[in-house]
């Protein structure tokens, strides 16, 4: 088995390479034997945070993203301090400087970039340092004695961060820059001017519109001479005049490169076995120097390495923030207006605020903000969405808060952001995902949010926003102690281990359980009782007697309560296939009972709406008579199995999706699950039955059946994860039963499959359903066993008089 695994070799133990591995492990934990080579001696750290390390605001350990354990836990062979010097594409091997040779089936190049060292005399002198790695920072710190003089060449983002850091270390710092103002690629003249002023107040000295002619010194740096002849003294020179993709290795292996390593939309180089991501690549003519686009590339590369083959990288737009504590600056898009563009300006010298927005055809094209950047993410979002801003134009500059009723400070402005607003640009995390994580996973602290969503885990400039979202979502609970959250106020116990505890301690009824686990109330409440009833039902099939008093009304009376207190009746229509006789029967029943609304549901069935409670048993009796059973459209249970017509009729159909759907529905109907459960079967990848937004989706292909899990089409749409492919209908049934059983035994009551899978991870599901044939067979057997007891039609029973008290009044007073 081990030898069969494919070998993936990664060159470059940096941010893009390791992010790709993380994404890959998420999708497919043991597809590859992974070997990583890194020229630096450290494990992967967050390069973005070098500036806080330089300035002394953060220790290096805090920047480590993947510590040594991480590599070990994930069975990754790591070679640090090893530079790969050769790729042999014929033999598919890589070789290091000191002679280690490792073969690969797939190679990932993520060699990043190097600082550009200007070709001027003296560039090789000791004391001239690039700004790229922790080693560079250590060198700078060694030289950074208070009172000594540093010169930073290059007034871009990195240069200014370096200058600020060295100045905080007590050095006298000058910045030499070619243009009229600093950060000209991100800021216009006014913004740049404000930034320069602010930095000058902190003690930096600027030499603008100046070009370096030579670096002076005999054995070490002593100074710098400009083209115009002026000389200044320096004990340390930091080169920060741009970066150049590190393509030497790829080039020497004959892989096509221009400025960077050329890659396609699938992040493959011209050699299809070799992928490349990060600052070393050139995609559609672009190279990138910020992490957000690299992380998008990582996702795509991982998706293809895992052979999902679904995603494409289509380039990124980027926004920038400067990480100098105390200076707020944001820039995105095209901020230099051309003819025909509109420019909106706000300048408040006293407050030190400057904002410029550029509009073209009523859409935001670019934004520069200085001093007040709260609305940066909002503008950036509208820019990427192409939102028409003509309606809000007059308030646009004042920010999002001014659109609604304002006055609650930063918190309220966070509350007003749409769920799709991107909060963390580095990791592409939007507000909705943060809020969901806080709510679903019961997060209380910034660190927990970072751990779960990665928001604010890279450059940290969105920390304030994330904290505001935390405070806003949790209300008064913010920063309370994290813990397993109790099911409700009646108990200290959490959902987590309820199913296992019930099995282990042999608890067989709600009162018994409440006593054994020391419930604080006599008979629980509407939150815990339905949950316990479900867990007991799942734990003791055939033995536990369902407690109708602990069921929500819909499940108690087997019909969906509507807003006026009447009910809907939706009979099961197997696989969505009906007949004239069935339709006639439904039509007659609907007429007889004067049903106000007959509606075709989204699940390929017919809904009868507006039935009074007393009428339900009568109507059911007639439906049962006509051969129908309950559709369970009201329950936390199997709902429908949606199908397309498949190979029987469709010219694209590859398999009998309809017949298979009916088989699946006949096996699964009547089962109770933690939350509702929907299935669909499509006859080909055109996917007319929308199988990829169902809890369990089957997509037929020529060679068999693809199984997809964890989709959801509700409030928050989630596309399924691909689980595996099987070749027979019998296997589909087995995987389906086993998956439902795993969900029944592991998920919390009221968890849909989508959040459940996000919590436990797809690898967990794969381990149980795909890798472990024996375990799968056992799950399937348990599912079938419990189905023996759950396929009695509840409508038939009630039409025959069961629980009659539910449907009749006690008395009528006249």
């Amino acid at each position: 088995m081990e030898q069969d695994k494919k070998r993936l070799v990664v060159v470059g133990n940096g941010m893009a390479g390791i992010r790709t591995i993380e994404e890959l492990l998420k999708m497919s934990a043991d597809e590859f034997d992974i070997t990583v080579f890194g020229a630096e001696p450290q494990p992967n750290y967050n390069r973005i945070l070098l500036s806080p390390v330089l300035s002394g605001e953060m220790p290096f350990q805090d920047t480590v993203l993947n510590d040594w354990n991480w590599y070990e836990e994930n069975h990754i062979t790591l070679h640090t301090g090893k530079t790969v010097t050769k790729i042999d594409r014929m033999r598919c091997t890589v070789e290091t400087e000191d002679g280690i040779v490792v073969p690969y089936d797939r190679l990932l190049i993520a060699t990043g970039s190097n600082p550009i060292m200007l070709p001027v005399p003296g560039i090789d002198l000791p004391g001239v340092i690039g700004y790229r790695s922790i080693a560079d920072v250590e060198q700078m710190l060694a030289a950074a004695q208070p009172g000594k003089r540093a010169v930073v060449i290059g007034g871009g983002l990195l240069g200014l961060e370096a200058a600020n850091g060295l100045s905080l270390r007590g050095m006298e710092v000058s910045v030499v820059h070619l243009c009229e103002w600093p950060m000209e690629r991100q800021l216009d003249k006014v913004g740049g001017g404000l930034l320069k002023e602010a930095l000058e107040k902190r003690g930096l000295k600027f030499y603008l519109s100046r070009q370096t002619d030579a670096i002076l010194g005999e054995t070490a740096v002593t100074g710098l001479r400009f083209k115009d002849g002026e000389e200044i003294a320096a004990d340390l020179v930091v080169m920060s005049a741009g970066i150049r993709p590190n393509i030497a290795l790829a080039k020497s292996a004959g892989i096509h490169c221009e400025r960077g390593i050329m890659v396609s939309d699938t992040m493959q180089t011209y050699d299809p076995k070799i992928y490349a991501v990060g600052e070393c690549v050139q995609h559609r003519g672009q190279t990138y120097g910020l992490v957000a686009p690299l992380f998008e590339q990582a996702k795509v590369a991982a998706n293809h390495l895992a052979q999902y083959g679904r995603m494409r990288y289509e380039g990124s737009s980027v926004s920038t923030k400067l990480k100098v504590t105390g200076i707020d600056l944001f820039s995105a898009g095209d901020f230099n207006p051309v003819a025909g563009d509109d420019e909106l300006l706000l300048q408040d010298a006293a407050r030190g605020v400057y904002k410029k927005l550029v509009l073209r055809d009523n859409k935001l094209r670019g934004a520069v903000m200085y001093g007040d950047t709260v609305d940066g993410p909002w503008y950036f979002q509208m820019m990427r969405d192409g939102t028409d801003v003509s309606e809000m134009r007059e308030h646009l500059l004042f920010g999002q808060m001014h659109l609604g009723d304002s006055g609650h400070g930063a918190g309220a402005s966070v509350a007003n952001m749409p769920d799709t607003a991107e909060i963390c640009g580095c990791n592409g995390v939007c507000k909705g995902s943060i809020v969901d994580a806080i709510v679903d996973k019961k997060l209380f602290t910034l660190d927990e949010v970072r751990a779960h969503t990665k928001a604010s885990a890279s450059c940290g400039s969105c920390t304030g926003l994330v904290e505001a979202i935390l405070a806003n979502t949790l209300g008064g609970d913010y920063s309370a102690k994290p813990s397993k959250k109790p099911i409700c106020a009646c108990t200290e116990h959490a959902h987590q281990d309820m199913y296992k505890t019930i099995r282990a301690r042999g608890l067989k009824s709600i009162p018994e359980l409440m006593q054994a686990l020391e419930w604080k109330t006599a008979d629980g409440c509407h939150v815990c009782r339905p949950a316990l009833n479900y867990y007991l039902l799942a734990a003791w099939p055939g033995e536990y007697v369902d407690d109708s008093r602990s069921r929500f009304i819909n499940e108690r009376v087997h019909a969906n309560i509507q807003k006026n207190g009447t009910y809907s009746v939706i009979p099961r229509i197997w696989g969505g296939v009906t007949s004239p006789a069935q339709l006639r029967a439904i039509a007659e029943i609907a007429e007889r009972h004067e049903v106000p609304t007959v509606h075709i549901t989204g699940g390929q069935r017919i809904g009868l709406y507006g039935i009074t409670k007393e009428n339900l048993p009568k109507m059911w009796a007639e439906l049962v008579e006509a051969g129908f059973v309950s559709g369970h459209a009201y329950g936390k249970s199997l709902r429908t199995v949606k199908t397309c017509v498949g190979s029987e009729w469709c010219r694209f159909g590859t398999q009998d999706s309809t017949g298979l759907g009916i088989m699946v529905e006949q096996m699964t109907w009547g089962s109770w699950t933690p939350h509702k459960f929907k299935i669909a079967v499509s006859g080909c990848p055109r996917n007319c039955a929308e199988a990829t937004i169902k809890d369990f989706g089957i997509v037929c292909v020529d060679s068999g059946y693809e199984i997809h899990v964890g989709g959801n089409g509700g409030v928050k749409v989630r596309v399924t994860d691909f689980l595996c492919k099987v070749s027979s209908e019998a296997e589909v049934l087995e995987y389906c039963g086993a998956f439902m059983q795993l969900y029944r035994e592991d998920a919390h009551y009221l968890d849909r499959t989508a959040p459940w899978i996000e919590r436990v991870g797809l690898p967990f599901v794969k381990r149980h359903i795909v890798d472990d044939a024996e375990g799968r067979a056992e799950l399937y057997a348990r599912f079938l066993k419990s189905q023996q007891y759950s396929q009695d039609d509840p409508w038939k029973e009630r039409a025959e008089g069961k629980e009659a008290h539910e449907f009749t009044a006690l008395a009528t007073i006249v």
Partner: protein, 108 residues
């Protein structure tokens, strides 16, 4: 006002409810887990949801529509919600249920 017999205690399931229909609307009778009986208007103070269809727990019922919790003794919604489902007098004597109401009764 009269005490009108509307049925027996056994007609209402424990932790359950039954409805008595009147000319002026429905009355919901609840039986708690310890066999106490309460009567309220069968209309949730929120949006008129049928309280008789809710889950009964302790001396409370949770409305099936939007989960307001109503106190069975007073008929008041539990805070933070507020509103009242108006309690009626009901008595159990020798297993028989008597409701205080204005007219005669006809068994369903």
């Amino acid at each position: 006002m009269n005490w009108i017999q509307v049925g027996n205690l056994e007609d209402i399931p424990r932790q359950g409810s039954r409805v008595v229909k009147t000319a002026t609307g429905e009355i919901a009778l609840f039986r708690s887990v310890d066999d106490q009986v309460f009567a309220l208007n069968n209309r949730c103070p929120h949006k008129g949801g049928p309280l008789s269809q809710g889950i009964v727990h302790g001396k409370r019922v949770t409305c099936p529509l939007h989960s307001w919790v109503i106190d069975l003794e007073s008929g008041e919604a539990i805070s933070p919600d507020s509103g009242c489902a108006h309690r009626l007098e009901v008595r159990v004597a020798h297993g028989e249920l008597f409701l205080e109401a204005e007219a005669g009764v006809c068994k369903a």
